[in-house]
């Protein structure tokens, strides 16, 4: 991967971007156990495969989601975070 498509600014060189880690959903902090919270804080899905990740376009200050395979380093799509974007099935149903 040398180029990345920013949803706002289009295709830009990778050096303009900062990796923000995998997109993760926090457990409900009022109801989850201490062990569940510790696992959320520290543990990561480290095995290779298709992942949703946070990326940041530094010059424009844009945080967005990239779907990338961490084995092949190929990005399949990038988009701004919204419920509809994270659940394409939901979107098409509406």
């Amino acid at each position: 991967m040398k180029l990345l498509n920013c949803p706002i600014n289009g295709t830009r060189p990778l050096s303009e971007f900062i990796f923000g880690g995998e997109y993760r959903v926090a457990p409900d902090q009022d109801s989850c156990s201490d062990a569940q919270w510790a696992a959320y804080v520290h543990n990561r899905n480290g095995s290779p495969g298709d992942k949703k990740e946070w990326w940041y376009h530094s010059p424009s200050g844009t945080w967005f989601i990239a779907e990338r395979n961490t084995l092949t380093d190929k990005v399949s799509r990038t988009y701004l975070l919204s419920n509809a974007n994270l659940n394409p099935a939901l979107e098409s149903a509406q």
Partner: protein, 413 residues
């Protein structure tokens, strides 16, 4: 001339002695199965046999021995860490390394050079003082030195770094050394083989059988092996192995790249590290400059090389050594570093009975090869981890008792 050499003069046959037996098919069962034939796995096999008399051991290596991160690091051995737990652990490793060529009867070209971690800022000096005091307290020879002493040890260094990042001082660590990294794997392999362990190359683990929370076997591309004890010592492949047993860890994989120049006459005695310039460099016994830098900035399970890396690294090398501008880089490569959030390894027992982890070696694994082999052998033999690696246990994350070693990483990652 030794007689064993003379006999080859009289004979027409000159067979190269094998380092270890070429086993093809594993037996039906072993007492211990070690996944990963790198330095760590082979050292564990060696110490299991030597210290604990456990010889019914199989080492399974998916490629060839020492072909992973053991053969991809920049071979630096040091113990100038930040936490007393870390300093004690790595110091124990340095002490084994110092006598290892003799113990394994193989010249590892272990060469004590002295190790300078250069400080270009006041805050770096502060960290160096902190590390020096912790090191001294534990009995490890480290001290903060000024530019004069650095210039004396390495007169070729431009102390102003092209005026960009003048060097204010350094953490000097006298025991800092380099060694032949593949020799370490081969030496331990031969030692383990002689004591009875069996080494299988081209043997990939496909799944691990766990029943009622206990390990009972390993499925490989060469058949099924029954065993009650499995050690995973696979560095960058750790998440794939832990996924097989359903174990969650904080480990993420980032490539770490390195490169070497063409060989030169010896001129660089010391090992030099600059955190600010993201460079570490030493000169190998072959005369090449061995250079490394920081981690690649995002997760990839690949050993691909990039031009960005070598451009960035060499421009910083030229800040330090302008006279190298005509020297050629002849090779570059990468390894998959299994990074942990606190820059300390994950070693010892896991919630799965009989499944032991020697992982999270990120960018700091080679120097720990002997002591990790020894302590993991102890952990497996006694089913209990020794005190020396207590701070590296997997459960430290659940206990929020991290072992913060990021300040001792060779460069800012």
């Amino acid at each position: 001339m030794p007689l064993r050499l003379l006999k080859y003069a009289l004979s027409k046959e000159h067979p190269a002695p094998r380092f270890f037996k070429a086993h093809e098919t594993p037996k039906k069962s072993y007492d211990v199965v070690i996944i990963g034939g790198g330095g760590h796995g082979l050292a564990a096999a060696y110490y299991l046999a030597k210290d604990h008399g456990i010889t019914n051991v199989a080492v399974l290596e998916k490629g060839y021995i020492g072909g992973g991160n053991t053969g991809r690091n920049t071979t630096i051995v040091r113990s100038n860490y930040l936490t007393p737990e870390g300093v004690n652990f790595y110091d124990a490793s340095v002490k084994i390394y110092e006598g290892l060529s003799e113990e394994l009867d193989l010249n590892l070209f272990y060469s004590t050079r002295g190790h300078f971690t250069l400080a270009h800022t006041e805050s770096a000096i502060r960290t160096m003082r902190w590390r020096a005091e912790v090191n001294k307290h534990v009995g490890v020879e480290s001290r903060v030195v000024g530019p004069d002493e650095i210039a004396k040890a390495c007169p070729q260094l431009d102390l102003s770094c092209s005026g960009q990042a003048p060097i204010l001082g350094a953490l000097f660590h006298a025991p800092g050394s380099v060694a032949r990294h593949d020799g370490v794997a081969w030496g331990y392999a031969r030692g383990a083989d002689r004591l009875g362990a069996e080494i299988f190359q081209n043997t990939e683990v496909l799944s691990i059988d766990v029943k009622n929370g206990k390990v009972c076997g390993v499925k490989t591309n060469k058949g099924y092996i029954e065993t009650k004890q499995v050690l995973s010592a696979v560095a960058g492949f750790t998440p794939r192995i832990t996924e097989m047993v359903g174990l969650e860890t904080p480990i993420v994989i980032h490539p770490l790249q390195a490169c070497v120049t063409e060989p030169m006459k010896p001129w660089l005695d010391s090992i030099l590290v600059s955190g600010s310039l993201h460079v570490y460099v030493s000169q190998s016994s072959r005369g090449e400059l061995v250079m490394g830098s920081s981690l690649d900035p995002y997760e990839v399970h690949s050993t691909r090389s990039t031009l960005d890396f070598v451009e960035g690294l060499t421009s910083h090398m030229l800040d330090m050594f302008p006279f190298l501008s005509n020297v050629k880089v002849v090779r570059q490569w990468a390894g998959m570093a299994d990074m942990t959030p606190d820059f300390a390894p994950i070693m010892g027992k896991t919630p799965i009975e009989g499944f032991y982890l020697d992982a999270g070696w990120g960018t700091w694994g080679f120097k720990a090869t002997p002591i990790s082999g020894k302590t993991m052998a102890q952990t497996i033999a006694n089913d209990s981890a020794p005190d020396l690696i207590h701070s590296f246990r997997l459960s430290r994350f659940e206990d929020y008792e991290l072992t913060g070693e990021k300040g001792a990483a060779s460069v800012g990652h």
